[in-house]
């Protein structure tokens, strides 16, 4: 745990806790008022609860050049990224890929080489659609462990997180509340639906929430598409390729389009936003992650569009390489924010429930 970032976040939080003007923006400030002294676990919790909407920064009387030099969104972003780098094992992988877009690109290039080789080396003798290029059994053999093992690493990290923030036992009600908050991105609403202070300085805008919704729901649709394909394959023996009017395509095509639009939107917002209000050292890694998601969706759509053409084989290799990179990097990229954020929302649903806020003298 970096003393610098944790100590700096604690210093800032203690000033915030004596002020409380920002109470209405998000869940972080009401959570803060439960404490008078902040343990490292408290700071990890607050940092993962923070959605980096930046409302508190622009409303703050104590930002630089004031000697208190508050920049809470940045301080919490540093602690947040650091908590992922610390809790995910191996830590060196997390540090490498969280920070460096180049590392992610390098992995992608390696995966491209691997899949072009695989498609050449393991071309099946029969099969339809893209199974003509890589057998279903081969795909399953490769992708199932590449999906399950990273998830296991994340699960282990969440266990450590739960201990660190003293998560305790949760109920369905806590989980439901957290899922509602996540589904609406309530903590990016600015407290009243006016949105963040992300890409237009001190003016509120709901664009970031919209862009994130496109990406998140697009991703979930694509995930549902793949899942439905798996079910159809194993439960009903209906194998790909699927026509446009089938469950996998009806979910996947809009999902992919939403992800592509979401990518462009998020990249544009990120280019306009002030990097000093986030964790600048992971800017490159974050940007690369957004682009990777866009690449997964775009190549998936192109692959579908190229059905029956000569481009199908190379596009399949490219698409599978992006998906493989995304899977492998789930624990080590910005992708983990979704897991940790949801965990923080569950913990907060629990902690806020048992701490009534009375008037203090």
């Amino acid at each position: 745990m970096s003393l610098d970032h944790t100590a700096e976040a604690r210093r800032q939080i203690e000033i915030c806790n004596a002020c409380r003007y920002c109470e209405g923006y998000c869940a972080v400030f009401p959570a803060m008022t439960r404490e008078k002294a902040f343990s490292d676990g408290d700071l990890t919790h607050l940092a993962n609860l923070c959605h980096n909407c930046r409302g508190c920064y622009y409303a703050c009387q104590y930002t630089e050049p004031h000697e208190f030099a508050l920049n809470l969104p940045a301080a919490l972003a540093e602690v947040r990224v650091e908590s992922w780098e610390r809790l995910i094992r191996p830590q060196s992988f997390a540090r490498l890929f969280q920070r460096h877009g180049v590392a992610m690109t390098g992995l992608l290039v390696a995966m491209l080489a691997a899949f072009f080789w695989l498609l050449a080396a393991l071309k099946p003798t029969s099969g339809e659609g893209f199974y003509a290029y890589l057998a279903h059994g081969t795909m399953v053999t490769i992708f199932v462990p590449a999906f399950v093992l990273p998830l296991a690493l994340i699960a282990a990290a969440l266990r450590r997180y739960w201990v660190e923030v003293d998560g305790g036992r949760v109920t369905w009600a806590h989980l439901r509340r957290a899922l509602q908050d996540a589904a609406q991105l309530r903590n990016l609403s600015g407290g009243q639906g006016q949105g963040c202070n992300f890409e237009e300085g001190d003016r509120y805008s709901d664009r970031r929430r919209m862009a994130h919704h496109l990406m998140m729901y697009g991703f979930l649709l694509c995930f549902a598409s793949t899942s439905s394909g798996t079910i159809m394959h194993y439960a009903f023996g209906w194998e790909a390729p699927y026509p446009l009017l089938s469950v996998p395509k009806l979910l996947g095509v809009p999902g992919g389009l939403m992800m592509v639009v979401g990518t462009v939107y998020l990249v544009w917002l990120k280019l306009k936003a002030d990097p000093a209000l986030g964790a600048p050292r992971v800017w490159g890694g974050e940007m690369a992650f957004v682009l990777l998601l866009g690449a997964v969706a775009a190549t998936g759509l192109l692959l579908y569009a190229a059905t029956g053409t000569g481009l199908q084989a190379p596009l399949l290799a490219i698409h599978l390489a992006t998906v493989m990179t995304l899977f492998l990097l789930m624990p080590f990229s910005k992708m983990v924010h979704g897991f940790f954020r949801l965990a923080a929302l569950v913990v907060e649903a629990k902690k806020s429930q048992k701490a009534p806020q009375g008037e203090m003298a």
Binding site: Y21, Y25, Q61
Partner: protein, 463 residues
Amino acid sequence: MKDWPETFDIAIVGGGNAALCAAITAAEAGATVLILEAAPLPYRGGNSRHTRNFRCMHRGPLSVLIDSYEEEEYFHDLMLVTKGKTDEGLARMVIRASEACLPWMEAHGVRFQPSLSGTLSLGRTNAFFLGGGKALVNAYFNTATDLGVKVAYEAEVRHVHREADRITHLEVTVAGQPVTVRAKAFVLASGGFQADLDWLARAWGPSARNFLIRGTPYNRGVVLRDMLDQGAESVGDPTQCHAVAIDGRAPKFDGGIVTRLDCVPFSIVVNRDGERFHDEGEDVWPKRYAIWGRLVAAQPDQVGFSIIDSKAIDLFMPSVFPPIKADTIEGLASLMGLDPATLRRTVDGFNAACQPGTFHPTELDGLRTKGLNIPKTNWARPIDTAPFYGYQLRPGVTFTYLGLKVDDRARVHGTDGPIQNLWAAGEIMAGSILGQGYLAGFGMTIGTVFGRIAGKEAAAHVA
């Protein structure tokens, strides 16, 4: 001296709430407006950036305000704090106008929220700004900019040039360069003089140099002084300022809300010599924190020390700086620069005078000392449970009372009647209504009401 390249209908001196309300109102009426803000952009907004609420009359539930808060009650509250030092006509006008201000504020970008934790007692009377005063200032600057209002930062107005009953131009230093700003009408909304320590020292005495200034360092009263020198009518006691007891380790300027300390009612407060000097338990803290500014200011070196034990440490809002902490009273005294034997004697004397009874931190519990020259009349519990904690207290100046006298149209008056094209709003004229004391959120009410009047009148003048 160079002229400002553009000519505006209205030049507004200041960049806080009152200035912005005037600018928006005038621009909406069709006037071209220039705001001259002395501070650089990050510090724009004067003392408004430190505020957090607005006291508002309402005859029924209004936005975030519950129940009702009618004119008579509001005026009664004002009379209590000012002890009658108010202009009843102007005060009632402000109170009545406040009701229409709230929807106007919302329509111009200000967002309100339910009362903050720790301030629930104000939920009926005061509407809190989401994010506080700086968020309000940001919203108004955005609204003003969208209306075409121009803003010059680091623009210090040095002189308001008057010829007979008209103002002709302003002499301004913009980022160090002297510039003449000409306009048809002028609004002065440049605040009080509390950041000018020399002026405070002349008014209060040399001890004022030990005061901390809670708000902006840019309210130096240059324009106020200039107008008074030119015979503008003044109002408010020139020797008085509003001060509260704050954390003695606060920055000299701009410490704002976080330097507040709420520990006094649960403590004993001693001076540099280790002696108590006032009843710490006189009333609930919001009603007493203002008098403690004066009490501490009257002590040697303008410093006080609030001492509590571990029973009391969680009874008040957290402080921005951690308390001094020690396992013994003597140890605490040494850390705070007090004589250990004297503090021990004071604490022992106090502890012996405490009576049994039931302690209620949130209400006047009548738990009082017996036999002390200076009693503590509520919340008097022995200070006997280690660890012991101490906070240094110093007077923190909030605002000054001396200002320009205005009429109900916000006009500034010279010796022979109103100046034809000059209006004033905000802290620079608040003494016209608030002659003494303070009512939470009332400064923003005066600024909003008079800012809008000044903007409307100035725009009508140039139309």
